[in-house]
């Protein structure tokens, strides 16, 4: 579809996991405003694996941040599960983010001064999880992702692929319903990248909703739908 058209009718079948209507984001620049996202309307169904693609500066990462509720400075409507995000206070949005969303970044963004196990513990420490439970969850996750032997190592002692694996584990440890990934394989060798993408497919198969930003057509194939962004507009969607 092309941007600027009338709002898309509600998707058929189960009610969408999240939906955006006429979402706009701009920042002031000089005398005018720079538009980053233009009239974005979008539905994502539960259990979908969507890839956002487009050239640099198209607004991909911004859209991801909006979806992840890290960016609240926009206009339009955003409905997430049963919540009208556009009506929520920033504090409540943080609560929603904490409950439902996990992030994976291109640069892994592990904290260098914390061990693998401590990095995994960070999301739990911000979610009022009891210490005993936290320990158990960290141990489970280490086990599930096959990094038990590396739990006391620091990020710099791991390969890029291993670091991203830990980052994915960290994004999932609090059992989010939506995984957002910003070029998760951008810094990895192709074989390491394939491993991460295989992991994503596995998670998706198990029911996790995933939205990834990627430059790679090959990676986009792991998902079911591609959203093309250019200059802030959605150009078209494919399967």
């Amino acid at each position: 579809m092309s941007g600027g058209g009338p709002p898309r009718p509600e998707a058929q079948g189960p009610s969408p996991f999240l939906s955006l209507r006429n979402l706009e984001k701009s920042v002031s620049q000089g005398n005018g405003r720079l538009h980053i996202l233009r009239q974005i309307s979008l539905d994502i169904a539960p259990g979908e694996f969507v890839s956002i693609m487009g050239p640099s500066g198209a607004g991909k990462s911004t859209l991801l941040a909006v979806l992840g509720m890290l960016d609240g400075d926009w206009t339009g409507e955003y409905r997430f599960l049963e919540h009208d995000v556009h009506k929520m206070k920033p504090k409540d949005r943080v609560g929603l983010n904490k409950q439902h969303i996990g992030f994976v970044f291109q640069q892994y963004h592990l904290i260098d001064d914390l061990t693998v196990a401590e990095n995994l513990d960070i999301p739990l420490s911000y979610r009022n999880v009891k210490p005993g439970e936290r320990e158990a969850l960290v141990a489970d996750t280490l086990d599930r992702f096959g990094v038990v032997a590396k739990k006391d190592l620091y990020p710099r002692q791991l390969s890029g692929g291993q670091q991203q694996l830990v980052a994915v584990a960290r994004a999932l440890i609090h059992k989010p319903t939506l995984l957002l990934a910003d070029e998760p394989t951008g810094n990895l060798h192709s074989s390491q990248g394939k491993e991460i993408m295989a992991l994503f497919r596995e998670l998706n198969a198990a029911g996790m909703t995933i939205v990834q930003v990627t430059h790679s057509d090959e990676n986009a194939k792991y998902g079911q739908r591609v959203i093309q962004l250019r200059d802030g507009w959605i150009l078209g969607a494919g399967g």
Partner: protein
């Protein structure tokens, strides 16, 4: 050499490119170097620099010492015995101090006059500024009347005119020819304004015949070159023992002699030194804090330039070159700070001289000179090393190539650097705490002193001294008559409620201890029973609001009739009659006015009352035994009038001067004899302490500011370094409160370490200032706890500001900021 110049050129350019950093660093250093140089110049001028007399290290003041450890001035007969019997001195001189009436254009004023014996100018040999000292002829009885003036009196009397030499001045109705002017630094004894040969009064001054009179004199000696102080003291102790045996009434127990260096004597036996040393230590702390701050800022700069240094290293620069580059920058900063600091110091020295309390000796000698320039240069070099060393070492660390590696973003790579910075901040907190606690203790001491009960009510009291012009009032009854007329005239002034007379006023610095004997009580084997000798009018206790504890005050009739009655204070009563009522008992006193022919004559008085204690000799001193008699019994050579007023006593001051002048225009009411409010005695008492506390508080505030800036800077820097980590945490669910807590927790650790170290240091160091404290212990828990909590709170506030900023970090911006 070329490379050094190149480094300096580069340093100048690099500093020009960071105007903010350069300005703050230069200002901080200028402040540190400036106050240090200024305060050190005071310490140097007052304490460290030797006196300017020739061979000043051999000049000493001589004090008699009792077996109990007391000090007293020598009487003239004792001095004559010393001169006759001692062999260890090259010169031995006696000074008899009085004040003389000098007429002038603005009315008469009293000048401090020193009648000096033959060897005086021989002992204190220096350069006479103009003219000469006394010739042998002039030092013989009946010789011509000549005078040597201090520089200050010459300025006052002749406006600096050289024609002063050969001019005549009038003192107490006698004419003296000025034969010499002394240099500005010549200042001994400190009250002397004019020097006259002792021969002028040798035959007429009865005091000079009194072996038992130990006031208003000085003895100075110049020890022979090959004689040590100990040898001289031993030799003199032999003479003293003989004198004690020969004159038991006057000298029993006074068997020792102490030679006190002239400098030490000027410093009032060391009372001034610890204050100045304390101030010097305080400004050293300020300088260290300034250095720690600039070093911290330099570390940040070096950190942001790590890539530049790595490129330099990759292009072949050795570690030493990189270190030299950074040290060049520090040197340029320190030089600029030093030059600006010197300007600041020269201004500060002027300010210190103007604000110096009256009692601070050698103020005229405080100034910036070559020595001060050298001192400023020395601390500038020290500063260079202190601020440049850490960044230079960091910049030359082995992992120099790390910043060149592509894609090594790292969220905690700055941990080691930040550890060094954190250590510096902990040090700043510790230094500031020590300084704040020291200041806090002195502030509390001052507070305690201002709240000491002096034993009388000083508010709304005005005073004026009445010096009867000679010879019209030389006869005692004429003087008494004059005092009565002055009192009567003041009593009817509007706003005056009560008027009284007294020879000495509390806290004025004037007092006289005189022997007291209790009939039937064996004399003290030490021969040391003395009490403050006070002559007063009947209204004195009422006017001063001194409570009567037993018996009664004098009646006006008793005073008019010069009845032999006395009132003692509680301390004296307790000392002699611990469990009995002294009223009705008799004591023997000795006539004590030096102006009178009956000086030393014994007389008996009946005690009619006991009054409350008054802190006469000083607020910090315990009350001394005191005995009051009617002023008519032993009419003093001068008298203080004290008037209680209905309103502000200051308003009465000009009226007092006019009233006294109306009674007799020749009574001096200018200069030191200007009337004043009693409150001034209080301020005078505390002036030096207030001066120290004011300066110290200023330095402590500066230290607090520097420490707070240091903490703020470090935490802000750490926040900047951790921006991405904070963004990640926010993306992973951290709330603002989580982030604020994370950042503040980091500073809490640093500040806690600093406070712990500071407390430990303060415990050790404040003991050294125990003798400067009053009414508060050197480890006073309230001060320690209060100041620690206060500094901790300031430190938390300083870290909360950047923490709050950190909590507002936009996670997306942080995550993209590679």
């Amino acid at each position: 050499m070329d490379t050094v110049l190149h480094d300096i050129r580069y340093a100048l350019r690099a500093l020009r490119n960071s105007p903010g950093y350069t300005t703050v660093a230069v200002l901080a250093l200028a402040l540190g170097i400036g106050v240090n140089t200024a305060v050190f110049s005071v310490l140097n001028g007052v304490v460290l620099r030797p006196l300017r007399y020739d061979e000043a290290d051999r000049i000493y003041g001589v004090w008699e010492r009792s077996e109990e450890g007391g000090y007293r001035l020598a009487s003239y007969p004792t001095f004559l015995d010393w001169r006759e019997q001692s062999q260890v001195f090259e010169a031995l001189a006696f000074v008899r101090g009085t004040s003389s009436l000098m007429p002038g254009d603005q009315g008469a004023r009293r000048v401090g006059s020193a009648f000096v014996s033959e060897d005086f100018f021989e002992a204190l040999r220096g350069t006479t500024l103009l003219g000469r000292t006394f010739s042998d002829d002039e030092q013989r009885p009946g010789g011509p009347h000549v005078a040597v003036l201090t520089h200050a009196l010459r300025q006052e009397r002749f406006g600096g005119d050289e024609a002063a030499l050969g001019s005549a001045i009038r003192l107490n109705d006698e004419t003296y020819t000025v034969v010499g002017i002394l240099p500005p630094w010549f200042r001994f004894p400190d009250w002397a304004e004019v020097y006259l040969p002792l021969a002028v009064i040798a035959s007429t001054d009865r005091i000079l015949t009194q072996r038992g009179f130990h006031a208003d004199s000085r003895v100075i000696v110049k020890v022979k070159p090959n004689v040590s102080v100990t040898q001289a003291q031993t030799a003199m102790a032999g003479i003293q023992a003989r004198l004690a045996a020969a004159y038991p009434a006057e000298s029993r127990g006074w068997t020792q002699i102490e030679l006190v260096s002239l400098l030490e004597q000027e410093l009032r036996f060391g009372a001034v030194r610890p204050m100045l040393v304390l101030l010097t230590a305080a400004v050293a702390v300020v300088l260290l804090l300034a250095c720690a701050n600039v070093a911290n800022m330099s570390l940040v700069r070096a950190a942001t330039r790590s890539r530049e240094f790595a490129i330099r290293a990759a292009l072949g620069a050795g570690r030493r070159r990189v270190a030299r580059l950074l040290l060049s920058e520090s040197a340029v900063l320190a030089l600029a700070g030093g030059v600006l600091g010197l300007l600041l110091a020269s201004w500060g020295v002027g300010l210190l001289r103007a604000a110096a309390p009256e009692g601070l000796p050698r103020v005229a000698e405080i100034g910036l000179d070559a020595q001060m320039l050298a001192y400023a240069a020395l601390i500038a070099v020290l500063t260079t090393v202190l601020i440049g060393l850490a960044p230079a070492l960091r910049a030359t660390a082995p992992d120099l190539t790390e910043p060149l590696k592509a894609g090594s973003p790292g969220t905690g790579g700055a941990r080691i650097r930040s550890r060094l910075r954190s250590t510096l901040v902990a040090l700043e907190v510790a230094l500031a705490l020590v300084l704040l606690i020291g200041t806090g203790l002195l502030v509390r001491s001052l507070w305690m002193l201002t709240h000491v009960d002096p034993g009388f009510d000083p508010i709304r009291l005005a005073t004026v001294a009445v010096f009867p012009p000679s010879p019209r009032y030389d006869a005692p009854d004429r003087a008494v008559e004059l005092y009565r007329r002055v009192t009567d005239a003041i009593a009817v002034l509007p706003g005056v409620e009560q008027v009284a007379l007294s020879n000495h006023l509390p806290l004025s610095g004037s007092y006289l201890f005189r022997p007291i004997e209790i009939p039937g009580r064996p004399p003290d084997p030490e021969g040391d029973e003395q009490a403050l000798f006070r002559t007063i009018s009947a209204e004195y206790f009422d006017t001063m609001r001194i409570p009567i504890r037993r018996g009664r005050s004098f009646t006006p009739d008793e005073v008019a009739a010069a009845s032999h009655v006395a009132i003692v204070n509680e301390t004296l009563a307790k000392q002699y009659w611990p469990d009995q009522d002294p009223v009705g008992r008799f004591v023997t006193l000795f006539k004590s006015s030096q102006a009178r022919a009956d000086f030393g004559e014994r007389f008996s008085v009946e005690i009619v009352g006991v009054v409350g204690d008054v802190r006469h000799t000083g607020l910090e001193e315990q009350p001394a035994p005191e005995v009051y008699i009617p002023y008519t019994v032993n009419p003093w050579g001068w008298m203080n009038v004290v008037a209680r007023t209905a309103a502000d006593p200051e308003a009465l001051v000009p009226l007092l001067a006019r009233t006294v002048a109306a009674v007799d225009p020749d009574i001096p009411v200018a200069g030191r004899q200007r009337p004043g409010a009693m409150r001034q005695n209080f301020s005078g008492q505390l002036a030096q302490r207030r001066f120290t506390v004011t300066l110290l508080s200023g330095f402590a505030a500066g230290a607090l500011l520097l420490a707070a800036l240091g903490i703020y800077g470090v935490i802000a820097y750490l926040v900047a370094l951790r921006k991405r980590e904070i963004g990640i945490r926010a993306a992973l669910g951290a709330t603002r409160r989580h982030i604020t807590r994370l950042v503040v927790a980091q500073s809490v650790r640093v500040v806690a370490v600093g406070l712990a170290v500071g407390l430990a240091a303060a415990f050790g160091l404040t003991r050294l200032m125990a003798n400067l404290l009053y009414g508060v212990g050197a480890t006073d828990a309230v001060t320690f706890a209060g100041v620690t909590v206060f500094l901790g709170a300031v430190a938390l506030l300083a870290s909360w500001l950047p923490a709050r900023r950190a909590s507002r970090v936009d996670p997306m911006v942080a995550l993209r900021n590679e």
